[in-house]
Structure formats: structure tokens, C-alpha cells
Symmetry: D2
């Protein structure tokens, strides 16, 4: 991750793009890239979305990469470590969604 | 990352949530979580988005964590390594956006 | 529609919210409201999404209303008539997706 | 609006696309189209987003049309009138955001 963060920083700095990379703009770009993932799945059944051919998978991999890049960049601009934040959130989720109540139930935790 | 991937896998399996986690559904959930980041920034100026107070930052950190979790989960379900994919994409970006052409210019590479 | 457009204009003006309603900000708000629709559907099967109970339908109706409001507001700020634009687009779609080629096929028109 | 609703219905029926148009799928398509609006604004300042040239405006008009089409289609599939829903929501908004409290303040109503 550290190598990725640094390469994105260098990339933006070398192109003088830091001025475009306000957190507000990066949040927008992140949402645009996520929509490019969603686009691949919008007309598929859930089953089809689990049985993608190699070509489709490679296209989606490229979109996942873009989301990862913008998420990493946004987090970096805000001084946030996204992997550490995700681990901490998983610890909270363990408490919010106790196994005995959540099992087999996708209801939001507030509805449990 | 490997530890995060595994903890998300265990979390879903323990709750019998694998059945909800089709790539199609995960793509939707990812887009919903990204919107929760965007919501924090929608009425801010770019400058304000760069000068967040601690409380706001903690709220956004929790949303970034959720995006990271769903992105990791989606990639895992598709057999994709999101960090490796992002690094490979950065290598391609270096070629698509040569410094001399891209400097200070946010135009999409197709318009360069 | 004209009545709706005017009521949104008055609402924003009375609250001195025009300054927040740049097209950039309205596009962000629009995407946030759409995600609130998506959230209702993210864990449902397609069949379940077609068999919503009254309570769920009323919640989704409120989210559709919010999307309509921001879409109308954004279009108004840009001097665009969204209904006329949609009708014109449908005329183009008739040509881009000829019945004989598109029948039963959700492939994007570029792939037809 | 009624004419638009009917033309979208006919368009989908003639192409045998009703089977793809579950509310779940339409919500996804709606979010993808909104992202195409957001993409036009992501690197602009708020001021630039208010001073678009004719070419850009025409591109955004086409995206607004797509959002309007999918929003109308989704509402139609759910038996919802989006314009009536928006008007009703505006009546609620008048109460939730009283002028004296909301004036010049973009804080969400829950924070007022």
C-alpha cells in the first residue's frame, strides 16, 4: 500500500494535478469510477455476475483499480490510512452485527 | 491487506451473508457507501473540503472504511487483488498521461 | 412541471440557498439522493424488487421525489428542460436501438 | 410527462426489454447515468460549473435526459408519479426547513 500511495502522490505532483485533487473533487471522481463498475453489472442477474468471462473480468479489474486509486488518493489527502480504518471498522461491525442476530439476515443493523 | 480480506470473508461466512454478496449486490453496496462520502462534501467549497475539523474527519474516515471493505470484498469475490490492480493501472496511467502533455491540465487523456 | 420548477426556485431563494446550488454541488446532491434509492434495492433479488410492500414503496417514493427535485433544480440552473430533453433523447434512442437488432438484448448499442 | 412515460413503456416493450427492467436494475442504471453528469463537473470549480459553453451544455443535457428517462421508468414500474411525489416532498420540505432557521445555512435539517 505504501508504495501505491507514494506512486499516486508522485504521479499527481509531476503533472501539477494537486490543484485539482481537493477532497471534494476526489470524492466526485471516486463516485464516477464506482459507477463504471456498476455499469458492468446493471443488466446481469446475480448469478451471471458470479460467472463472468475473462474479458469482462479484466474490464472490471481495471475499474476496481481506478476506484482503489481514487480511494487511496482521497484518504491520503485527508491523512487517513484506509486499510487501518477498514480493520477498525470490521472490529466495530463484529459488535454491531452479532452472529446470533445477523445470521442469514441482510437487514441493516438498526433494524436488527 | 491479506488480514483484512480474511476478516471480511470470516465475517460474511459466520453470518451466512455469502448468499447476499453476489458481485452485483456488492457493486450496489459499494456505490451506496461512496455516496455517504460524497454527502459530507456536497455543500462545501473545495477549500472547506481541505480544512475539515476532527469530528468531520472521523465521520469521513468511517465512510472511507466502509468503501474499502466493500471494494475489498467485491475484488475478493472476483479473484482480483485490488492493490496489484491499482499498481498496474498506475503504470498504464504513466503512459496514457505523459507529463509534458498532462501538466496542469485535467482534461481526460482522450482529449489530450 | 412548471409549478414544481417554480416552487423549488422559491424555496431556495427564500432560504438564501442559491449560493450553495452551483451545478457542481447539485450534481453531487443528485448522486447522493440516487444512492438512497439504490440502498433500498441492494440486497433484494430482482423479483423482490418487483414485489415491495406498501411501507417500502412509500420510502422509495420519498427518495424518488428527492431525485426529481434535484434533477429539476440542476436542469433549471442550466436552462435545460428535462422533459423536453428526455423526449428528444427517446427519439434518438429509437434510431440507435432498432427493434430488429435490440429485441431481447440488453447489450449497449455500441455492441449491437 | 404522460407522453414521455408512454413512449418509454412502448420503447421497452417493443424491444422485449421489460425483463431487464426490474426496479433493482433500473436503480443501478439510474445511478450510472447520474455519474455521467457528475463526470462533467468533477474537475471544475463551482464558478466554472456555472459558466459552461454550449458544447458542454449540450453534452450535459443529453445526460440529464438519460437520468430523466430512467427515473421516469423506475417510477412507472413502481406505480409512482415522480412529479406528484416531488410536489408533495416540497410541501414537507417547507416544514422541515423553516425559513428563519434554514436561511443561508446548508446544514441538513436534522442539524438545524
Amino acid at each position: 500500500m505504501e508504495e501505491l500511495i507514494q506512486s499516486i502522490r508522485d504521479f499527481a505532483r509531476d503533472r501539477d494535478w494537486d490543484k485539482f485533487h481537493s477532497p471534494k473533487n476526489l470524492a466526485m471522481a471516486l463516485s464516477v469510477e464506482v459507477a463504471e463498475i456498476v455499469e458492468h453489472f446493471q443488466w446481469l442477474t446475480q448469478r451471471q455476475s458470479d460467472e463472468l468471462d475473462r474479458e469482462k473480468l479484466e474490464q472490471i479489474e481495471a475499474e476496481i483499480a481506478d476506484v482503489m486509486i481514487y480511494l487511496t488518493r482521497l484518504a491520503d489527502r485527508l491523512g487517513i490510512d484506509p486499510v487501518a480504518a477498514a480493520k477498525e471498522k470490521m472490529r466495530l461491525n463484529e459488535k454491531k452485527y452479532p452472529v446470533e442476530k445477523a445470521k442469514g439476515n441482510a437487514a441493516k443493523y438498526t433494524e436488527l
